[in-house]
Amino acid sequence: MSVVHASITVTGKCCPLPLIELAKAAKNMRPGEILKITGDDPIFEISVRDYCASQNLEIISVTNENSSQVGILIRC
């Protein structure tokens, strides 16, 4: 299990807020640190994957925490 250095929750927020919150959080992380983001927007996973692809960040895991909530671990 990886050590999570920071985690943010964007549950109840819809596009583009998860992307904005993720960008703000990722700015404060050091390279190699792990960020966890949890959200329930229908296109939450796509937004996070697009952001990671554009910023060359690695997605470690994607887990369905319950029926609508998704947690994603990102290596910055």
């Binding site: 109840g12 927020k13 819809c14 596009c15 583009p16 807020l17 992307l19 904005i20 993720l22 960008a23 703000k24 927007d41 697009d50 952001y51 554009s54 910023q55």
Partner: protein, 185 residues
């Protein structure tokens, strides 16, 4: 321009968005695109012109002195020698502030924007004011057109909710030339 300074689609990391319309639906889209692009690492210049400037104005009450009297505080972009009283009329009847913007369609005397704002809040979508604050935090550069500031008698230092740079069409042309994304809303 020397060949090594040419900015191409592949090398540019800038976007320029011009908001001409002072309508709620268009303002939301312009700000959402600006915030999304800034979050993805693009350097965004957001231009406001004519009625688009209403989005950035501080709200004033319909009967407040500030709404009906021309500001004597001549901030950058104003030319006091050519000011006329009629500017106060357009200032008084213009919309101001993110909460007073009309919809481009289905406005129904202000009922449409209220309904849309309610539905967006219910769905967790950001308001115009939240998007403006996020854009500022993400480093979006707000620029406003000098002739509009002068014609609409705007006090840039006190009438706006953000710090904006007053500039002209030459700066806009330079911004668009070096951007890979240009949009007018």
């Amino acid at each position: 321009m020397p060949e090594n300074n040419v900015v191409t689609f592949e090398t540019s990391n800038k976007a320029t968005i011009l908001l001409l319309s002072g309508e709620l639906d268009k303002a939301i889209v312009a700000l959402e695109v600006a915030c999304g692009m800034a979050a993805m690492g693009t350097q965004v210049n957001l231009w406001f012109i004519f009625l688009g400037l209403n989005v950035l104005k501080k709200p004033t009450g319909f009967f407040s002195r500030k709404r009906w009297l021309l500001s004597k505080n001549f901030s950058p972009g104003r030319n006091p020698e050519t000011d006329v009283g009629l500017q106060a009329v357009i200032k008084a009847f213009n919309h101001d502030g993110p909460d007073q913007l009309p919809l481009s369609q289905l406005n129904y005397f202000g009922l449409g924007p209220r309904l849309l704002n309610y539905l967006m809040k219910k769905k967790g979508s950001p308001s115009v004011l939240k998007l403006i604050n996020d854009a500022r935090e993400l480093g979006v550069c707000f620029k406003i057109c000098q002739p509009c500031v002068d014609v609409l008698a705007l006090d840039v230092k006190n009438d706006l909710i953000v710090d904006a740079e007053v500039s002209g069409v030459s700066s806009y042309v330079l911004d668009t030339r070096t951007s890979y994304y240009n949009a007018v809303f």
